[in-house]
Point group: C2
Chain length 178, copies 2
């Protein structure tokens, strides 16, 4: 279960409010761990309850945002969790189910949807490459930068793979049956 630890990580990097976090889970962190604002608020409550976070006193009278920061116990928990061994989660790839279904009840218009998604993945790849050029132009000196670059490059590899797959799929799906 990673959501609490994804939040701890995000908050170690930068103390934030729920809505700040929701924003970050739509961008950088969200590229490898998605969460909605409902999940985030609920989990922040639990983490505070567990004594891993504290809410900073509402600053400058503006009674709106509730900014959290990670307590030492939370840092310890995060360090413990990172070192924990985990098995790879069982896969669930909806598209592969569709491909296999197509192969037994097809032909269908599955190709249309793959075409559409191909465009999405090309966009995402372009975005990742842009981030890479902006944030990791030089030779990634520190260990921290190297690890963060590696995470980004995993995203790039995945999008590249997806695009390759989609192109192969289209080649098969769009070839008229003999």
């Amino acid at each position: 279960m990673s959501l609490p630890h994804a939040l701890l990580t995000a908050l170690v990097e930068q103390p934030s409010s729920g809505s700040d976090l929701a924003g970050r889970f739509d961008r950088s962190i969200g590229y490898f761990w998605h969460a909605t604002h409902q999940q985030i608020y609920r989990e922040l409550g639990r983490l505070e309850e567990a004594g891993w976070l504290e809410a900073l006193p509402p600053e400058s009278g503006r009674g709106r945002k509730k900014v959290y920061r990670v307590l030492p116990a939370g840092r310890d928990e995060l360090r413990r969790w990172v070192a924990e061994s985990q098995d790879p989660k069982p896969l669930r790839d909806e598209l592969m189910v569709r491909m296999r279904a197509e192969s037994v009840v097809g032909p269908t218009v599955l190709g249309d949807d793959i075409q559409r998604r191909l465009a999405l993945h090309q966009q995402k790849l372009a975005l990742y490459r842009e981030i890479e050029a902006r944030d990791f132009a030089n030779g990634s000196a520190s260990r921290k930068a190297q690890l963060q670059h590696l995470v980004l490059s995993a995203g790039i590899m995945q999008e590249t793979m997806w695009i390759e797959f989609a192109e192969k799929a289209l080649a098969i799906l769009e070839t008229p049956e003999q």
Copy 2:
């Protein structure tokens, strides 16, 4: 939601009982869609309720296995679903969270676990290549065979990518800090 359609696909390919399906979801189908026997039995009940499946009369007196086959309505539903457009599911990659956490609270022994998982992925890749050599040795003549080969090759690409990633990660994690 793909489980019902994964089951329909599996049953179009081959009418089966719940436990047969559980076995197939540990092998071929399970390589891209995981399901436990509890999910399978529950869902078979729903699909029969919906009129998409029927249970064959228990054959030859052995009152044990309940074999299902797909009814025409189920085939129609499957064809409809394949052509439906879907957005890519938001990612949730636990390992990437761990990498990013390592980068802020590390160094930890994360490398040990990656080493262990690297071996698992190498095994899986070897298995996929074996299946490929056995089932798709010749030039994949029919459309059906081409699509099934493509699904398998997606698995091969993914495992290959994972191995590449793990090796890069280990190179960083095992370099002593300057």
